[in-house]
């Protein structure tokens, strides 16, 4: 049942990507409506999937991240009237769902069993939020760069009705970037506390290292941007590169890395 639901959600998101991409190329309203409806149906399916997982006392972090990203996406797209955001955002959802498939064959990804340890739960919740915001920031950076390029090249005619003002895109981008960093930093702080309490039991070292490297880069960007040593344009470019590096690395370790089936908990996702 859950597998059928999972693949239905996957298919709906795939249809949604097709709709949004067609809309970006042709700028026709129907494709946008099709993309939005498919994504909403996919989101509904994803919600039901997560509810069934919660009822079974287990939850997939990656799916939860996806769900949270979708919530942020709908809220922002509605508030900012950004019609191209879905084109940049939905493929990320699809990529993350692909990781879910390849990790465990046709079944859902490794489950996290909540053992009631406060620090671990806080760490996971905050990192899920941080990654959802970070992925969303990437989608936002893409639309920001598209708008910037269109305005610089005096070619905004094609896009002016699809995207909000540059100012608004910049605001949303900076807010999500800063909030993502805050959530990740606090989430990592909880992990450090848990690590000392539990003596590193249950940690996937490869992911811990990668998570730390990612956080380090993120911090450098955060510091440079907030001290006005980096422009919004350069930050958007850096975030895009950082995201791609993350996806490639995460994809590699999820697909070719050591199995995590025996691990009790998963810390960095």
């Amino acid at each position: 049942m859950t597998n059928v639901l999972f693949f239905s959600v996957y298919a709906l998101f795939m249809l949604s990507v097709t709709g949004f991409c067609t809309h970006a190329l042709r700028r026709d309203k129907k494709s946008f409506v099709f993309g939005t409806l498919s994504s909403l149906l996919g989101f509904l399916g994803l919600t039901i999937l997560l509810i069934t997982q919660v009822l079974n006392a287990e939850i997939d972090n990656l799916l939860l991240t996806n769900w949270l990203m979708a919530v942020i996406y709908y809220y922002t797209a509605y508030k900012t009237k950004n019609r191209l955001l879905g084109t940049a955002f939905m493929p990320i959802v699809l990529v993350l769902m692909t990781f879910v498939v390849f990790n465990d064959g046709t079944s859902l990804l490794t489950k996290t069993t909540y053992d009631g340890q406060f620090f671990l739960i806080m760490h996971q919740a905050l990192l899920i939020a941080a990654f959802a915001i970070f992925f969303f920031t990437f989608a936002q950076s893409i639309t920001y760069l598209i708008k910037l390029r269109a305005l610089k090249n005096h070619n905004e005619m094609a896009l002016d009705q699809e995207l909000p003002s540059l100012d608004r895109l910049q605001q949303v981008f900076s807010v999500s970037f800063n909030r993502g960093w805050s959530a990740m930093t606090v989430g990592i702080a909880f992990a450090v506390i848990y690590y000392f309490k539990k003596d590193s039991e249950g940690f996937n070292e490869l992911k811990v290292i990668w998570g730390s490297v990612l956080w380090l880069f993120y911090t450098v960007l955060f510091a440079m941007y907030n001290t006005k040593k980096m422009t919004c344009r350069n930050l958007a470019r850096a975030v895009s590169i950082l995201f791609l590096a993350f996806i490639i690395f995460y994809g590699c370790i999820s697909t070719f890395g050591p199995s995590e089936a025996s691990a009790l908990t998963e810390v960095v996702k």
Partner: protein, 414 residues
């Protein structure tokens, strides 16, 4: 011959030169004067007077209105043939729908005309110069104009340089409130752009000009600040949007000046150069978060928008045609409504009379039998009525039905 249910006499930018349009441009205060001149000759009357058109929409005698126009506009009779258009009935209605939808405007698809037509009608309703007949036309006209605007791109995209400048600014800045605009130059183009920015709600308009006196004059219109060109640097550092239109043979704004201003801010800066030769160094566009548009860029956008509106024109015409057809059908149906009612009453009356006679003869019938017979006869009459009524309605919708209506009346003695 029946008198038209609506007539229009008027002139516009296509039919008459500006000198004549000026002479026949009326304010709302003229309505009373016109009507008292025309005495009881006009039962309903609306006056539309804009810079590009003066139109009289009325129900009544046309000649007296023409006489009035000849007097106030010092016109010859031949002028009516040369510069005026006259429409009656559905032709007038089509013209009105096209005007309200912006299809007859100088700038096709402009939005203001609908507001102006609406105000003209509303004023006539308030003063009781227009009543039920025009109220219905007014509602249909609004529906048509709104559908044209909603379903086509006729009104999308600005076509004047000043409004494109404002539109582009909104593409960069989310809100223009809180933004400061610097106009370099105090000429007509700067003034026009200033009006557009002022109406868009910018926080402050600054004017920098070689002659501080002229700068002050223009700045006063927007309650803004005036600067001389020597103080330009201070004004630039403060501005979010800069529009330049001077006669200077060299660049007024150099890259270093804008670079300095940008070092202190994170928000973008928008520069519009509508001067020829150019006032703003195009290399400034290379700076991060600075956007420079010149007159060619703005003209290109205007041309694109004009093309877009042109493409929507055909579709808009189709909508007007459909709405007219609907109106015509509705009018026709309402005109045969009383005829259909009397036809129905006549046949049911015959049925009731005959039924009564029958029941008198067959006095042994029980109430339930009588009820069954009544229902059956009622259905027979309804079935007999059905086809002629449907045919009449269809024919009436299709074309002029006066002959058919006469035949129908004669056939059934209505």
């Amino acid at each position: 011959m029946t008198s038209p249910f609506i007539s229009i006499i008027g002139l516009n930018h296509k039919s008459a030169p500006v000198e004549l349009r000026e002479r026949l441009s009326f304010g709302a205060d003229k309505l009373k004067e016109i009507l008292s001149y025309c005495c009881d000759s006009l039962s309903e009357f609306v006056l539309i007077s804009t810079c590009n058109r003066t139109e009289f929409i009325f129900n009544g005698e046309q000649s007296i209105l023409e006489k009035y126009l000849m007097e106030v506009g010092s016109l010859q009779e031949s002028d009516f043939e040369s510069f005026f258009y006259r429409y009656n009935d559905y032709e007038a209605l089509e013209h009105l729908f096209r005007v309200a939808s912006g299809l007859d405007s100088l700038v096709v698809g402009e939005v203001q005309i609908l507001g102006q037509v609406k105000s003209a009608f509303e004023l006539s309703f308030e003063q009781n110069y227009a009543t039920a007949n025009f109220a219905h036309i007014y509602q249909q006209m609004l529906k048509c104009a709104r559908q044209v605007r909603r379903d086509t791109e006729i009104g999308k995209g600005s076509v004047s340089v000043a409004s494109i400048a404002v539109q582009l600014s909104k593409n960069i800045f989310d809100h223009l409130s809180g933004k400061k605009v610097l106009l370099i130059g105090a000429g007509e183009m700067c003034e026009l752009a200033g009006v557009h920015f002022f109406e868009a709600g910018v926080d402050q308009i600054m004017v920098a000009n070689r002659s501080v006196e002229n700068a002050e004059k223009l700045a006063d219109k927007f309650k803004g600040k005036a600067f001389s060109l020597d103080q330009l640097e201070d004004a630039v550092w403060d501005a979010d949007i800069i529009l330049s239109s001077t006669g200077s043979p060299s660049y007024v704004l150099e890259k270093d000046l804008i670079k300095g201003a940008m070092s202190k801010r994170r928000e973008p800066m928008f520069l519009i150069d509508i001067a020829v030769p150019r006032d703003i160094d195009p290399k400034i566009n290379d700076l991060t978060d600075v956007f420079v548009y010149n007159i060619d860029d703005l003209n290109k956008i205007a041309e694109e928008n004009r093309k877009k509106r042109g493409r929507a024109f055909g579709r808009a015409e189709e909508i007007v045609e459909t709405k007219l057809k609907e109106f015509r059908e509705e009018q026709a149906l309402s005109s045969v409504g009383p005829l259909i009612n009397s036809f129905r009453e006549r046949l049911h009356g015959i049925k009731d009379d005959e039924q009564e006679k029958l029941f008198r003869k067959l006095s042994h019938l029980s109430d339930s039998d009588k009820d069954a017979i009544n229902k059956s006869l009622h259905q027979i009459v309804n079935k007999l009525l059905h086809d002629p009524i449907i045919t009449l309605r269809d024919e009436v919708k299709r074309d002029d039905s006066s002959r058919l209506v006469k035949v129908f009346k004669d056939l059934f003695n209505l």
